[in-house]
Amino acid sequence: MNEVKKTKYWNPYIGGIMLGLVLLSANFISGRGLGASGALKSVIVSTVNTVAPDHAENTTFYKDYNETHENPMKSWLVFQVFGVLVGGFLSGTFAKRLKFKVEHSPKISSKRRLIFALLGGALFGFGSQLGRGCTSGSALSGMAVLSLGGFITMACIFGTAFALAYFFRKNWI
C-alpha cells in the first residue's frame, strides 16, 4: 500500500490548465463562468411549471424565477451540463472507465455509501441555492473573475470539509 500506482489519469497540472482554458473560453465567448447546480434548478422549476402550474403561480420562488426567465430549460447552464455528461462519457470511454459501480471505502457497505451520498447531495443542493452557485459556479468561476463572494464561498466549502474530515474518515480511508 505504500506505493502509489501509476494511473491513466492526466497529470493534475495539465488537467488544471485545460480546465482553466475551458473556463477562459466560457468567459470569452459567453461572458460568464461554468456551473452545474443552476441547471438542476432549471429542471426543477420547469417540472413544477408543467406538473403543477397553479403551485408555480402561487409560490414566491417559482413566481420570481418565471418573471425573470422566459423558459427555464433554454438556459446556458442546462446546455452546458448536457455537454458535461457527454464529455465525461467520452473521456471515460477512451480511458475504458465505463462501469456501473458504487465506489466506497472497503470499510463501509455500498448501502452506507449511497445513504451518505444522498444526504451529502441534499446538503450540497440546498447550500448551492443559498450560496448562489456551487463549487464550479460560485467558487471556481467566481475566483477566476476575482469575485469576493466566490473566494468566501470557496474558503467556506473547503474549510468546512477539512474541519469535518476527521469525523467522516471511515467513509473514505
Binding site: G20, G83, S128
Partner: protein, 196 residues
C-alpha cells in the same frame, strides 16, 4: 471584441450551442483528471490525494491570467464579464453547508454529473440528493429569503476589497497557489494511498 455574445458577434442560440461544446470540454477534462471518483476527490481532505487542490487552483490561476492578458490585448472587456455578486451571509452559510455535503457525499454537483456519465451509482444517489436539497430551498424559500438576501455588497472583486490592483492580487494568488502545490506534493508523499 469579447465576450462574443454580449458584443453580438454570435447570436443567443449559437451561444447555447457553444455552451454545450464548452460543457463537453468541461466534462472531458474533469473525468480525465479523475474527478469522477469520489474517493479521489475526498482524498484531498485527508492528504492522500491532492489532485482536487492542484486542478482547481491551476484552473483558477490559468483563467485569471488568461483574462488579464485578453484584457491587456483588448480582446475582452472585463466590465462585460459576469461577476458573481456578494451576499455575505448566504455566501458563508451556503458555503459551510456545501462543505458538509462535500465531505459526506464525496462529490460536488459538477463532478457528480461527470461521475454519473461513466456509471458511478453513488453519483446517482448524490444527484438525487441535489434535487431534494434544491426543492427544499425552492419550496421553503420564504423561510430562507431573509438570509438569502442579507448583507448585499454589490459585485466587489477581492482586490478592490483589499485595496490592491488586479495584477498584484493575481500575482499573490499565483504565489499562494504554488505554495499550496508544494504542500500538496509533500502531503501525498507523507500519506501515500493506492490509486482508486
Amino acid at each position: 471584441m469579447g465576450p462574443l455574445v454580449v458584443n453580438e458577434f454570435i447570436s443567443p442560440d449559437t451561444n447555447l450551442f457553444l455552451a454545450f461544446l464548452i460543457g463537453i470540454g468541461f466534462g472531458f477534462v474533469l473525468e480525465s483528471s479523475g474527478f469522477s471518483s469520489s474517493r479521489k476527490l475526498a482524498g484531498m481532505f485527508y492528504g492522500y490525494d491532492t489532485t482536487v487542490l492542484k486542478v482547481f487552483f491551476t484552473a483558477a490561476i490559468t483563467a485569471l491570467v488568461g483574462m488579464l492578458f485578453f484584457s491587456l490585448f483588448g480582446w475582452v472587456d472585463l466590465d462585460l464579464i459576469y461577476i458573481n455578486p456578494t451576499f455575505l451571509h448566504s455566501a458563508i452559510v451556503g458555503g459551510v453547508i456545501m462543505g458538509v455535503g462535500f465531505i459526506m457525499g464525496g462529490f460536488c454537483p459538477g463532478t457528480a454529473f461527470c461521475a454519473i456519465s461513466i456509471g458511478k451509482l453513488d453519483a446517482l444517489a448524490f444527484i438525487g440528493g441535489l434535487f431534494l436539497g434544491i426543492v427544499i430551498f425552492t419550496e421553503g424559500y420564504p423561510l430562507f429569503e431573509e438570509l438569502y438576501k442579507a448583507e448585499f455588497m454589490g459585485t466587489p472583486t477581492i482586490n478592490e476589497f483589499l485595496g490592491l490592483s488586479r495584477g498584484l492580487f493575481s500575482f499573490m494568488l499565483i504565489a499562494a497557489a504554488f505554495g499550496m502545490f508544494w504542500v500538496g506534493e509533500w502531503a501525498e508523499k507523507k500519506f501515500p494511498r493506492e490509486e482508486y
